[in-house]
Amino acid sequence: MLNLIKTEIKRNFTGRWFWLSVIISGALVIWYSIDRIPFCVKSNLMILENSYPDDFLEISFTNWIGSHNIYLQQNIFYLIIPFLATIPFGKSFYEDLNQGLIKNICIRTPKKNYLISKYIVVFLSGGCAVVIPMIFSFMISSAFLPTMLPEVSYVYTNIFPIYKWSNIFFENPFVYTILYGITVFIFSGFFACMSLPITYFSSKSFLPILFPFIIYIVSSMFFELIDMPGFSLRQILTTTGEQGTTMTVVLLAISLGVFSFIPFYFIGVNNDVL
């Protein structure tokens, strides 16, 4: 199984779709950086020269693509996360089924090994495709803006005490950033994995890529409508999502994992390889 995982990883990370996804999110990161960072640098210089009324510096922790969901580029990024996660390797299972590669694999190794390794690699590829540009964005903002503790009384951090993990943000913003990075990695991985079970029912390659996005927006809409925004995926993933607790994050992650893995594995194991 380890060999299978290595082969799939190589197939994914050397494929053009992974890099296309990274390029799209990279373009958003660069656009955000060009839009936002010069303004922050200028505002910091004015503060240091004592000519700006607000005495709080713009810091790197509040000016990278994952810091909020306020600006245009951040909005686009957070809404297309399912696409960014699924494009790299989401339709690989569809291709394996339709082009017959699965037959070659299943005569050489037990089917469950193939299914588990496929799931692991799709998860990793989805997570990496989204988080790599986020790391890149944080590095850019750290290169130009001070990396220091945020000021609680500065409203433009847009992280208020009622938001989840806000105490971590004000005490140890680096851990907060890593925590959100891990959250986005896990959820992106599960979004990518949502494309796997739907493949069994899909006659077109587009549907496995579309399905996670539809689940994302429809479930977010539904939970916000019934006044349970703590379970809205859109709110969970963003730092400025007012609702959500550690418990809802964990529950949602487990639900996504279960709903993506169990049908994929059990249908795959029980189905004939046609």
Binding site: I70, N75, I76, L79, F83, F206, I214
Partner: protein, 277 residues
């Protein structure tokens, strides 16, 4: 020529709409949930009130096409995109992209060779987009009518009590024509225009990239109130008929029709030079 046109459009409708009945079933369920929750919220708010407020068809359309007020970057507040509005439009363009160029890849050259015209295929595709969007909007209309019959009133005039309580809107002086132009006709024609733009882009790029571009365009429209960002015209909270000082939505119809004509011509030019592999 006429036979070929009717055969191709019939094929598109069968493959792109009738065979996709499960997608439409999902869409109907979604609309039912949206309307159900709205009706429940209205009854919760007005339950103890002396006013006998019943949700009409117009109110359900208002709920759907509300959108966000014009964005101001100076306030540094950001936008919380109204998810119903976003989901409604994203689904149209997702489904359009889903079917967009599949038949070219699926060995449907037989039909092309029989009709002997790539341009006719393209024009049928444009017409299919219009029919698909119309059916989508019509489904919402049907679901809203059903809810209005069962739980509300069949009213085509928006209820000021609901508009005031939910969205702080003053609808005095708003005529029925202006209202339905803003919440049905204009969104319909703009959705048709953008779906045709999307299908035109699909001729050149992969459908998934075309969909990402359209979604990006929707989100950019949230942030900028410019005449060329057509989704501004589909948000009631940015509608100049509602007394909000924003871009003029009467020009939107002409912009949308121009876009349809322009994309039809551009698409014809592209499809003539496209290889059918």
């Amino acid at each position: 020529m006429k036979n070929g046109f009717s055969v191709i459009i019939k094929r598109f409708i069968v493959e792109g709409i009738i065979e996709k009945w499960k997608l439409f079933l999902f869409v109907i369920l979604l609309f039912v949930s949206i309307d159900f929750i709205f009706v429940k919220n209205v009854s919760n708010i007005f339950n103890e009130s002396e006013l006998n407020v019943k949700v009409g068809i117009a109110d359900m359309f208002m709920n759907l096409f509300l959108g966000n007020p014009p964005f101001s970057s100076e306030e540094n507040q950001g936008i919380n995109i109204q998810m119903i509005w976003f989901v409604f439009h994203s689904l149209i363009f997702s489904f359009v992209a889903y079917y967009a160029t599949n038949d070219l890849k699926n060995g449907s050259y037989i039909f092309l060779i029989k009709i002997k015209s790539k341009i006719m295929w393209w024009l049928c595709r444009v017409l299919w987009c219009a029919v698909f969007v119309l059916i989508y909007y019509f489904l919402f209309f049907i679901v809203s009518c059903a809810f209005a019959c069962l739980f509300g009133s069949i009213s085509f005039t928006p209820n000021q009590n609901i508009a005031g309580a939910f969205w702080e809107l003053d609808l005095t002086g708003l005529s029925n024509y202006q209202f339905w132009f803003s919440v049905f006709f204009l969104p319909l024609i703009i959705s048709i225009a953008i779906s045709i733009v999307e299908v035109t882009i699909c001729l050149v790029l992969k459908p998934i990239l075309s969909l990402i571009i359209v979604i990006g365009y929707i989100i950019v429209s949230e942030f900028y109130s410019e005449p060329y960002l057509l989704f501004n015209y589909i948000m009631i909270l940015r509608d100049n008929f509602m007394g909000i000082k924003n871009i003029n939505n009467e020009a939107a119809f002409f912009i949308a029709v121009s876009i349809i004509a322009f994309c039809s011509i551009i698409g014809s030019t592209i499809i003539k030079k496209k290889d059918m592999i």
